[in-house]
Symmetry: C2
Amino acid sequence: MQNAVLKRIHARHWAPGTLLPNEADIALEFGCARSTVNRALQSLADKGLLERRRRGGTRVVEHPERVATFKIPIIRLQIERSGCDYHYQLLSQNHLTQKQKIARGQGVQQMGDTLHIRALHSSDGNPYVLEDRWIDTRIVPAAKEADFSAISPNQWLVEQIPFSGGDLKLSAIKAKAADAKVLKCQAGDPLFRTERTTWNTERELITVVNLTYFHGYKMQVEL
Amino acid sequence: MQNAVLKRIHARHWAPGTLLPNEADIALEFGCARSTVNRALQSLADKGLLERRRRGGTRVVEHPERVATFKIPIIRLQIERSGCDYHYQLLSQNHLTQKQKIARGQGVQQMGDTLHIRALHSSDGNPYVLEDRWIDTRIVPAAKEADFSAISPNQWLVEQIPFSGGDLKLSAIKAKAADAKVLKCQAGDPLFRTERTTWNTERELITVVNLTYFHGYKMQVEL
DNA sequence: ATCATTATTATGTACGTACATATTTACACG
DNA sequence: CGTGTAAATATGTACGTACATAATAATGAT
């Protein structure tokens, strides 16, 4: 059923921008129940191929922006999955009780009472990614007791905190001397970086993290 | 219904790794139909929170890898949406009739009879992204007649070719002299790059494209 | 014991019906 | 002529039932 609709879209029987017949009519034409049509169309809408509005009907989207879903794995798993040895090292840990302003790209995030952690994740002994993280300990008080020399904040947070919204920026930066030393590359090398903020369901800021990957790293996404 | 299940997961009533009761039992407990439970669980499974296997039952996923869906817009729309003036310029266009080997990261892609295009997309007159594209003209013969001085291959392909699978790699590279000149930055600057291959439903390679963004670009993703 | 066959079980998909809800269109009223 | 209210319409969600399918467990023959 879903495939039948997909075929029509591909065959341009229903071209981009076209308003499809209503569910009842489609059901009649295909000789199936409306609920089946509903499921099929809804699924395609989820995938970004159709646009649906109550009373307004269903139409094929004009510019089918390719929708990619990609996974942000726990770094440990990412490394172990590729068959390499994982190693984690805490570099520094500070508790900042004053209000902090953390510059992130254009915006500035406000956090008070933060835990600042720098840690290095290695793969087969080679530096893999440098984790630079701020955790708001008012929102996540348990973080004060966590032993981040044994478990990475990355893993700890994912396992402790229920999922939530967030924001992710990807960019290329020039390696600073300090980072170059830790990541064993030349100062000035281009490095892949992700900057991420995460908030909970009440939209309170939980954590801000910058990940700076080793020189030559490519992030892979399935489409 | 979906929310009720979500609450239980958040409340760790059903902790990560837990095997949920079967749909029939859940339906009984919540006082609703199994089909309703099925829809709710399936939806959560799509979002990556649950793992389901026939006969095996449903369980809360152990390491909830955050699943981000991000859109790959037509560059033109991306620029115009931010209120800037879009400009497109074809830099070069060659038809290569011999077999080509196009190195992409670790792998090498085989294409025969390819059209190679270089083009620059600008925003308010500033270089935005450099498009370096190969199109297999055996698979997409219409590309030979398309006028890529008027429409970008990016836009043309999205509108002509039905969606398909693909592969996307994101990385940071060091600006080469030639690219630096086009993108108006210094040679050696770190640049954000995406490398993408796209194939059709028969898994034939359609196009390979490298996009190199201006110095300082950050790709943004909603989580 | 080993392997092929047959039950069992939980999810996957479809049906048909009913009612809810958002949105537009039509109509009546001032 | 505008305005508020009611009808019409298409999707959204839920119900209960039926059968398909994949994966596992139990069974029986060799």
